[in-house]
Subunit: 258 residues, 2 copies
């Protein structure tokens, strides 16, 4: 199987490596920035291109791994006819590829990728979708070689999953960043929080998070909440977040009881 | 050393076990609810009491592990003179014990405790404070037997640390609970997010969270943000949180650049 990767960012990089390790051939890496295309292509023994004229349209699979906003534009620039064309976005509908090929689909690895850290895709869920059963079967075949967890979802379900991932990953990471800022402003060592963070995560491996919620909000401990808000007086951003999150804890608890 | 524990909740339980394992004697467990006092006292080979008349004032250490609001009231009910009296609260000043004994201090284990799960206190930071150097030395001696990380902080610093813990532990747990609710509303399996959650945490073991922030907010990907807000239209609580957290990610990034 001959693969062309469109894009050179984190997802392009991790997918490229995974295809390579699964014994596939990545023949080309395209990026508007030839330096970036070169950097990734070199690690994959592929050709780097920055011009669609040089595209090898004899490849079996074209996989678009670029910013969501650019997906449709690039799909149409490819000028494919019936080659398999996939995008890798959690929040973009399959429809973004409509008209760009007769065989279109989605190949969304549900993970947070950074260039600094390699990831074993075998445990990463790959969410797939296609415009027809025959195409879906091909995509499933490709995904099965990379991951043990291949799941078909429609675009609407995939968007919800991606939204859940924003809460579970991006927003939790940000709360930890805020905690670090809070501590360091007062000369406290952020490392002190690490055992707590580990235990928080360890608890939810076996339990639903809502069932192990702790803290002043769930206890309705107004005195502590007020003393925390006093500490945040200088920072309206954090103080508002504190209030909203505390209220949200109470609300979720009511919903799950109701 | 003879210890009396006031309280029967999670912290009382975990500290009781830790003292016991460190070879100390817990002589009494007090709770307003004698059933609860009995449940904990039984596991510690201690006497359960629900009446301050029965308090063994010959003990060396009285440790208050009750709701923050009740600390001062119980401290005064003890009618001690010069026995060592500690509370275990992150967000309560040492001053809550003033006048209740001449030797007062704080013994705050920075961890999230639940009855279902036992915890090795050796890796848990214990934050200590006292009203005089002589008392601090005694508290440090006690804490050193339970944990490898004993740190002296004043009440203001401890409150900030506790606030950081609310962001890093309680609020992150809540975001995971919200993610689970979002997915399950649409019939999606929350387990799908687990590899992502693990990777999110694994990334920040070696990196500052702000430096590994990902997601639509940090990319300023307005199209994705808008599509997420559309998905949350039915839920003003979540939609508002989404907006605030996204804005806060942008704000923190600006602060750290500025």
């Amino acid at each position: 199987m001959k693969i062309v990767i469109l894009g050179s960012g984190n997802i392009a990089t991790h997918l490229g490596r995974a295809f390579k390790m699964a014994g596939q051939t990545v023949s080309q890496v395209w990026s508007r920035d030839i330096t970036k295309a070169n950097a990734l292509a070199d690690t994959l023994a592929a050709e780097a291109i920055d011009n669609m004229f040089d595209l090898d349209r004899s490849a079996d699979l074209f996989i678009i791994a670029v910013n969501d906003e650019a997906i449709r534009k690039i799909a149409l620039e490819l000028k494919l006819s019936d080659q398999l064309l996939l995008h890798t976005s959690g929040s973009t509908g399959l429809s973004a590829l409509e008209g760009a090929s007769t065989k279109i689909g989605v190949f969304y690895p549900l993970q947070t990728f950074s260039k600094i850290k390699s990831i074993d895709l075998r445990q990463v869920p790959i969410i797939i979708e296609a415009n027809m059963a025959e195409v879906l079967a091909i995509i499933r075949g490709i995904a099965d070689r990379l991951s043990e967890k291949v799941i078909e979802l429609n675009s609407e379900q995939r968007k919800t999953l991606h939204l859940g991932a924003v809460f579970a990953c991006n927003f939790t990471n940000h709360l930890l960043a805020l905690a670090q800022e809070l501590l360091e402003e007062k000369g406290l060592d952020y490392e002190l929080l690490k055992p707590l963070i580990q235990e928080t995560l360890s608890k939810i491996e076996m339990n639903d998070p809502a069932s192990v919620q702790t803290g002043p909000a769930i206890r309705k401990d107004q005195a502590t909440i007020q003393s925390h808000l006093d500490l945040l007086k200088h920072n309206p951003d954090l103080s508002e977040l504190y209030t909203k999150l505390s209220q949200s804890i109470v609300n979720l608890h009511k919903r799950s009881e109701g």
